[in-house]
């Protein structure tokens, strides 16, 4: 029943709004009570009590971090395929062939992991 299916999400929507209201009301209360005394020295970024070394904080960052993000993308998409498989696994019409199919799928991805391992992507240099 699609109607009921969506009514469950009404509560979720309300919870979103309630959460936002809670956070924003916290901000609002703080805005009312908290003191404000701005100064140029206070507004510089914290760098252990000294003026930051000239240059932006937003420099290029090492690509090492993104390699993991890309690997994550591969494996998380895999997980998306795995969840429906896991749900229907117990179903009556599912034969054990499904198990072996997923074995092949996971095997390919596992070899992907081993490839990345051998390539040295998992080592941090």
């Amino acid at each position: 029943m699609t109607g009921e299916y969506f009514t469950d999400y009404t509560a979720v929507l309300v919870a979103t709004i309630a959460g936002a209201v809670m956070v924003l009301s916290g901000f609002l209360a703080a805005m009312v009570v908290s003191p404000r005394a701005r100064s140029a020295m206070k507004d510089i970024p914290y760098e252990c009590g000294v003026v930051p070394f000239p240059g932006r904080g937003w420099t290029q960052t090492h690509i090492r971090y993104y390699l993991f993000a890309i690997l994550f993308l591969v494996f998380d998409v895999e997980a998306v395929f795995l969840f429906p498989w896991a749900v229907i696994f117990l179903g009556p019409e599912v034969a054990s062939a499904v198990f072996y199919e997923m074995l092949v799928f996971m095997g390919i991805l596992f070899f992907g992991l081993i490839y990345a391992w051998k390539k040295g992507v998992l080592e941090w240099r």
Binding site: C48, G49, V50, T59, T61, H62, Y65, K119, W124, R125
Partner: protein, 367 residues
């Protein structure tokens, strides 16, 4: 697979949760890896050496307390030995034993702090540190009995110590000496084979033997690199020639060796304390000296094996009541001279642990 990016310069310190005092490192990072290091000193400079020229020889003892404030007794001892050498006098036997006991207790206390903060730098959320504070507290109680103070003792005087040990001191010390090995065993049991501690310290921050000697390092940092050099053995002062103790020495000079050497040195210090307790004679605790010391013209250098390394005072006298020149060989400062060689190539997290494992004290570095 090598990848290059725009490097980034970050200040670690002077206000950083894990700098030991107000110490600043300007570090060039590429990713997380350190490419260049520039230590910046001087935030805690109080001009102790210059201040000493304006004070009488007895008053300077208070200045030495504030050098390495975690090892004030050792500083007192080094200074007093220097003045005694300058004047050509010697402390009475009992005073020598008292001073040895105090110096060794101070070493235990300082190593406890060093290990505790080293583990804190590793990210063990204050738990080992608080355990070690527990034992340090007992040492500070002992010092309080003897001197009345807990951090800056000013207990020793040229020619002896300020006051004799109170009657309750020796039983308390005996109790401490009996309990402490169990606590050291506890640290060792809890920490020595901890998987994360091993992965974080083993092979990290290796200081080769030759480099350590060339950098004129001293103390546990040098001994961890495999050099059996200890002034207590090499140039015995006070009563160290009459007690038996061993020199723990590391193998390759990484963080783990520095950790283990400190752990073992505490045991050896306890051995010295126990032997001193047995051998300690009765008698005067201070040589009969005038209030205002006027050493003859000349100069003298005396050094002790402080908890952090060779701590020496060089005094030049012009015959007046205050020294013409007082120079301090601060082990913490000299131990930091190889910082760049040790840090380059390691990551942020390793940098913190390597700096922590050197166990320096900014009060002494900046003087």
């Amino acid at each position: 697979m090598t990848l290059k990016t725009e490097p980034i310069i970050v200040n670690i310190g002077p206000q950083h949760p894990s700098t030991h005092g107000v110490f600043r490192l300007r570090i060039l990072f590429d990713g997380e890896v350190i490419h260049d290091v520039e230590p910046v000193f001087g935030y805690l400079h109080r001009g102790s050496e210059k201040l000493a020229e304006e004070r009488t020889y007895t008053q300077i003892v208070t200045l030495t307390d504030r050098l390495d404030y975690l090892a004030a007794m050792s500083n007192n001892l080094s200074y007093c030995l220097s003045v005694e050498k300058l004047m050509g006098i010697e402390a009475p036997e009992r005073a020598k034993y008292i001073r040895t006991i105090m110096a060794e207790l101070m070493r235990i206390s300082s190593h406890l702090m060093g290990l505790g903060f080293f583990l804190q730098d590793l990210g063990a959320f204050a738990t080992p540190l608080m355990y070690m504070f527990r034992e340090r507290e007992k040492i500070m109680d002992l010092f309080e009995m003897a001197s009345g103070a807990r951090i800056t003792y000013t207990y020793m005087r040229p020619g002896g110590v300020n006051d004799d040990l109170p009657p309750e001191f020796m039983p308390a010390l005996r109790k401490f000496a009996d309990e402490m090995p169990g606590y050291i065993d506890e640290y060792e049991r809890l920490l020595r084979e901890n998987e994360i501690l091993i992965t974080r310290t083993k092979g990290v921050g290796v200081l080769p033997r030759d480099l350590a000697i060339n950098g004129s390092l001293s103390g546990p940092a040098l001994r961890a690199s495999g050099v059996p050099w200890d002034l207590r053995k090499a140039d015995p002062y006070e009563v160290y020639s009459r007690v038996q103790f061993d020199l723990p020495v590391g193998q390759i000079g990484d963080n783990y060796d520095r950790f283990l050497v400190r752990l073992e040195e505490m045991r050896q210090s306890l051995r010295i304390v126990r032997q001193c307790m047995q051998q300690m004679p009765a008698g005067p605790f201070r040589a009969d000296l005038p209030m205002l010391l006027r050493p003859p013209k000349g100069d003298a250098y005396a050094h002790v094996e402080g908890p952090k390394g060779e701590l020496g005072f060089y005094l030049v006298s012009d015959g007046s009541i205050s020294p013409y020149r007082c120079a301090i060989r601060a082990p913490s400062f000299i131990n930091l001279s190889l910082l760049k060689e040790m840090l380059v190539g390691w990551k942020i997290a390793d940098m913190i642990t390597i700096v922590g494992s050197l166990d320096f004290n900014m009060g002494e570095v900046d003087r």
